[in-house]
Symmetry: C2
Subunit: 276 residues, 2 copies
């Protein structure tokens, strides 16, 4: 049985993503309250696999998770995209008339802004987690409180769904990364089967330094699927680049990395995996 | 007197940024509760200037504001970088012992996560605005409530600062854009004095399509200071690129735009302005 460290409670979107990614396999969840804890869990038990959100079509990239990944020694072994659908739920005996406040993760509250504006009588309260809010209300039997979470979490905790699909933007997808200890990774996913890789490197603030790297990648037939620059704090004229690439030939991809390495600073391969 | 539309209340970080950017000038603030309203205010009164946050060193880019900018007909005429410093404040007669909940904008709450963890007895409540929370507590005389906002806002609303600099990361900077109606822009900032520009364009998901654009820019001596790719929802194989460039020669910059235009789709210059 695989042990999967996720951020959030049973019923959270990380839980749903983990069960979809490992569908057909027996998994045991290790629920972590922060993303840092996922990395600590893998450090303590190298057979633990981590699952963490990395970007959302509406909220953008989770820069902090990129930073954790860059500084860690874990490697990406897979990715999963999940359609995010929010519901509002309460205790079975409560209803629209009796609920007074709604608890959820700040990002979920933000993604239901139109719904919350239309229900100005509900006080929005920030909580650690979407599913965790439902769990807390159910276990403490908090009458008058509602939670925003998935319908799946509402069901798990015996809550009543008042309304489904209350998020503003229906194209709400989150991309999750599956990460593991690099010594365990080859057994979980053989790198030479990879069709995608995530890289990070830094470049001096110099005309054409990025165009050289991208031109070489294109000469090797490597596709760019994501690029994001970040200023390096304390190094005014240096930038970090997070890049995702896809490719048909793993050999050509590896050759392209050899070709760009002398031109980039501190290049790090965050993982080689299968595009989903 | 210039009329500046900002997001948030008097005392908000947008207010501070506007007063710093227009220091020495008389300005009148038009406080908007959403970023959309800033654009509406400029549409209603073309002489109104807008000021909106576009990225933060910790939270990343405000993708929604990029999208508003792309779809609007306003142009960027300037930028300003502000060091974000959060304080916790309450009514003068309240103190650590008597406060029970702390209200602020979700991003501000997130940026003070360590502080809030260390004060688990305080319930974090999401509000529209940082300064707005201070204003609300002061005007309703809400004993037991605290707000997270700037020390400047606390002072404006006669609140007592309990602790300053409660944000986790001291390198917390927000970059603001100054935007205006394009017909008014030349008088506010003559484009030929520009040293920086923001562009958006789309590219097919094709090997080397981005590297061609960046190579041409580098041939013209144009520096890249930011690049961010975004998938276009509903167009699986097409990407949007938001790019900031800096340059010494405005003529060379304009020539480089002419040179890349045939290779990019729907290129739009979001503004030409002075690097800050």
């Amino acid at each position: 049985m695989k042990k999967i460290a996720i951020q959030g409670e049973v019923g959270s979107f990380h839980d749903i993503a983990a069960h979809e990614y490992f569908s057909g396999e027996q998994i045991e969840l290790a629920c972590c309250s922060t993303f840092e804890e996922i990395f600590n869990a893998i450090r303590r038990d190298p057979t633990t696999i981590g699952m963490l959100a990395i970007e959302n079509t509406i909220a953008g990239s989770l820069l902090h998770n990129y930073e954790l990944l860059r500084q860690s020694d874990v490697t990406i072994i897979g990715e999963h995209k999940l359609h995010i659908e929010h519901s509002i739920c309460c205790l079975p005996e409560d209803d629209w008339e009796s609920i007074k406040e709604v608890h959820s993760h700040p990002v979920a509250l933000q993604q239901c802004r139109n719904f919350l504006s239309a229900h100005a009588e509900l006080k929005a309260v920030e909580a650690e987690d979407t599913a965790g809010s439902a769990e807390y209300i159910a276990s403490h039997h908090l009458s008058g409180w509602a939670a925003i979470c998935s319908a799946y979490a509402a069901d798990i905790y015996g809550m009543k769904v008042l309304e489904q699909d209350i998020h503003d933007n229906k194209h709400n997808y989150t991309r999750f990364l599956v990460v593991a200890n690099p010594l365990e990774a080859p057994e979980l996913f053989p790198a030479n089967k990879a069709t995608k890789a995530s890289l990070v490197f830094s470049l001096p603030h110099e005309e054409g330094s990025l165009s050289k790297i991208l031109t070489i990648l294109s000469f090797y037939g490597i596709n760019l699927t994501k690029i994001q620059s970040l200023p390096i704090i304390g190094h005014e004229w240096e930038y970090l680049f997070y890049v995702d690439v896809t490719f048909d030939s793993f050999t050509r991809y590896r050759q392209s990395i050899d070709a760009i390495t002398p031109l980039a600073r501190n290049i790090k391969i965050l993982g080689e995996y299968s595009e989903c």
